[in-house]
């Protein structure tokens, strides 16, 4: 019999502050944490806005993500089993160390290698094993959650800690600006006037266990990773497929993996970056799969920006909270929904049925797609 993967512990640090409660409260209140970037000069870029975490020191002793992770794991290690497998999801990890090495000659460029960060996270979390990195562009952490669930389902592990992090740095900001991917002010996912994404930063962790171990250890069950599907558009490095077939494939696989049909999904936690093409591609997929009626759909990226490799994990934690609270947050900055999103995305909170599952989607460069089916515990 296949083991069920349940979520027993989670936490996050986001531009809303430390902890999931602050993030949830900010989102439900419709407050955006996107503001002017002061970390580096932005005059040459397409935008001067991003969602950053207060109090982080840029180009100082520790990288931005290590400062986030140190805060995140402060006092948490006692709740994390040392025998858990570790998956670290990130796109650029400690890339600010490479910036510092090139700009100031301080340290070495190779300090930014992801394996070095993996070893440091393993020590921070109190994990005895070395763990592994999973990087799949902006679908990194939802792909990592899928890997964790697969490891539990196939019996390779009965406890997997998924950690995700990415930060807003000049390297990343200049790159997205060069691709003309940034909204001048703040991202407006699914809005008819949307014009790009806003970058954000975050770190989060999720402890996934087999249900058997969670029950044995009397762990509170927050929810379950019931199914997943991963795919690629095989179409273009930076642009999603206009036919949406890659995401449709991922969603279809996720529902099959969970053993459910479209009618069993109660709401969608969308990737919703705010770029014209991503949001159109997603709506194309949702409309192709969920043909009966519009269903509650939201994106949190108007509130906390696109946190890249951390996005899927933060969104998983928020989607599980939505299931518990029977409420989905608003799509912040949405003023006039795109015609395809009318009736799906709104600027207000909506009630949802806790007995139905949540569909979470992410997509990224190289045409990567990830879909998760999340359920109440």
């Amino acid at each position: 019999m296949r083991a069920k993967a349940v979520v027993v512990l989670s936490d996050m640090i986001t531009p809303y502050g430390r902890g999931a409660d602050k993030c949830w409260s900010g989102l439900v209140a419709g407050t955006s944490a996107i503001s002017r970037v002061t970390r580096f000069r932005t005059e040459a870029f397409q935008s001067d806005c991003a969602a950053t975490i207060d109090g982080l020191q840029y180009h100082q002793d520790e990288s931005l993500v290590m400062q986030m992770l140190a805060s995140l794991f402060d006092g948490a290690a006692s709740q994390i089993p040392g025998d858990a497998s570790l998956i670290l999801a990130t796109t650029k990890g400690e890339i600010d160390l490479l910036e510092k090495a090139i700009l100031d000659g301080a340290g070495d460029e190779s300090d930014a290698v992801l394996q070095r960060l993996l070893a440091r996270v393993s020590a921070l979390a109190g994990i005895r094993g070395e763990g592994m990195i999973v990087s799949a562009a902006c679908a990194s952490s939802s792909a990592a959650v899928a890997r964790a669930a697969a490891m539990i389902r196939c019996g390779r592990s009965d406890a997997v800690l998924v950690v995700a992090c990415d930060s807003v740095t000049e390297f990343i900001f200049s790159g997205f600006s060069s691709l003309m991917a940034l909204d001048k002010t703040a991202a407006r996912p699914f809005d008819i006037h949307r014009s790009g994404l806003s970058l954000g930063e975050a770190a989060a962790y999720l402890l996934v266990m087999s249900e058997e171990r969670a029950v044995r250890e009397k762990r509170p069950i927050i929810g379950a990773v019931a199914g997943w599907g991963l795919s690629d558009d095989a179409n273009h490095m930076t642009g999603p497929s206009r036919e949406s077939e890659g995401l449709i494939l991922a969603i279809t696989k996720a529902m099959k993996s969970a053993g459910i049909g479209a009618d069993d999904v109660g709401f969608i936690a969308a990737h919703g970056t705010g770029t014209v093409y991503n949001d159109a591609m997603e709506m194309g997929a949702f409309r192709a799969v969920f043909t009966h009626a519009a269903m509650p759909l939201y994106s949190i990226k108007g509130g906390m920006g696109h946190t890249m490799g951390a996005a899927g994990l933060v969104e998983t934690i928020i989607a599980l909270r939505s299931l518990r609270e029977r409420t989905v947050p608003p799509t912040i900055n949405l003023e006039e929904a795109d015609k395809d999103a009318v009736g799906w995305a709104t600027s207000r909170c909506r009630a949802v049925d806790r007995h139905q599952a949540a569909l979470l989607t992410n997509a990224g460069f190289s045409g990567v797609n990830a879909a998760l089916i999340l359920a109440s515990g």
């Binding site: 890339i95 190779s110 394996q115 562009a137 060069s178 095989a234 490095m237 190289s366 990567v368």
Partner: protein
């Protein structure tokens, strides 16, 4: 579930080849080129070095496995890659270029390769790979860990066929790992045997020799 290695493609500074079919060509007789691909790779000259290495190794691996592909054909095949340093080389190139340009303009065509998964993305686009795509790494980097993940993906019904490989500056190798319950395909060996040989080998050359011998032993 029976999971087998259907083919392996590889290249290093001196040679390139396919393991199951036993093809081995010296680079002194000519660099790998267009003849490896069923149709030309779009903008091949603009791809970064890691992406070119990945495309070569994947072309050889698919050829070895007898899997065809076409410009308008997409297949449910996934790809997992690993290496020792992620995208560090591309990161350095991008950021130095940005600094050298006065810290105002950066080049998008350098930025897109600053993800460790980007070379896999280029391969997915050319070969029409619609299955799971991700980069993974352990400390130290381990090809067998990537193969294990591919096996896990197949077991979890994520995709029936997975490519798993490693891409370094001077060498690359990709394995085609596939479900083979009905024994309908000619294969090189069982994936467990292949992983054991990968773990026991100290160099790519040694690994290719051992795997070639394993294939011959089966015949």
């Amino acid at each position: 579930m029976v999971i087998s290695v259907r083919g392996i493609g590889w290249l290093n500074q001196e040679e390139y080849g396919c393991v199951r079919t036993g093809t081995r060509r010296s680079r002194r007789d000519g660099e790998p080129g267009r003849e490896l691909f069923t149709y030309p790779v779009k903008y091949f000259g603009r791809l970064d070095g890691a992406s070119r290495m990945t495309c070569y190794a994947v072309a050889l691996a698919l050829e070895d496995a007898g899997i065809g592909y076409g410009q308008y054909q997409k297949q449910d095949i996934g790809i997992i890659g690993t290496n020792a340093t992620g995208s560090l080389g591309a990161d350095t190139r991008y950021f130095r270029d940005y600094i050298d340009s006065g810290r105002t303009l950066s080049r998008g065509n350098l930025f897109i390769y600053t993800l460790p998964s980007s070379p896999l993305g280029e391969a997915a686009i050319h070969f029409g790979l619609q299955g799971p795509l991700l980069y993974t790494a352990t400390h130290p980097a381990s090809l067998s860990a990537a193969i294990d993940m591919a096996v896990e993906s197949i077991c979890a019904d994520e995709s029936p066929i997975m490519l798993a490989g490693t891409i370094e500056e001077r060498e690359a190798v990709f394995f085609v790992v596939a479900k083979n319950d009905d024994r309908q395909y000619d294969t090189l060996c069982d994936v467990t045997e292949a992983t054991a040989l990968v773990n026991a080998s100290r160099t790519l050359e040694e690994m290719i020799t051992e795997l070639t011998n394993a294939g011959r032993g089966k015949v």
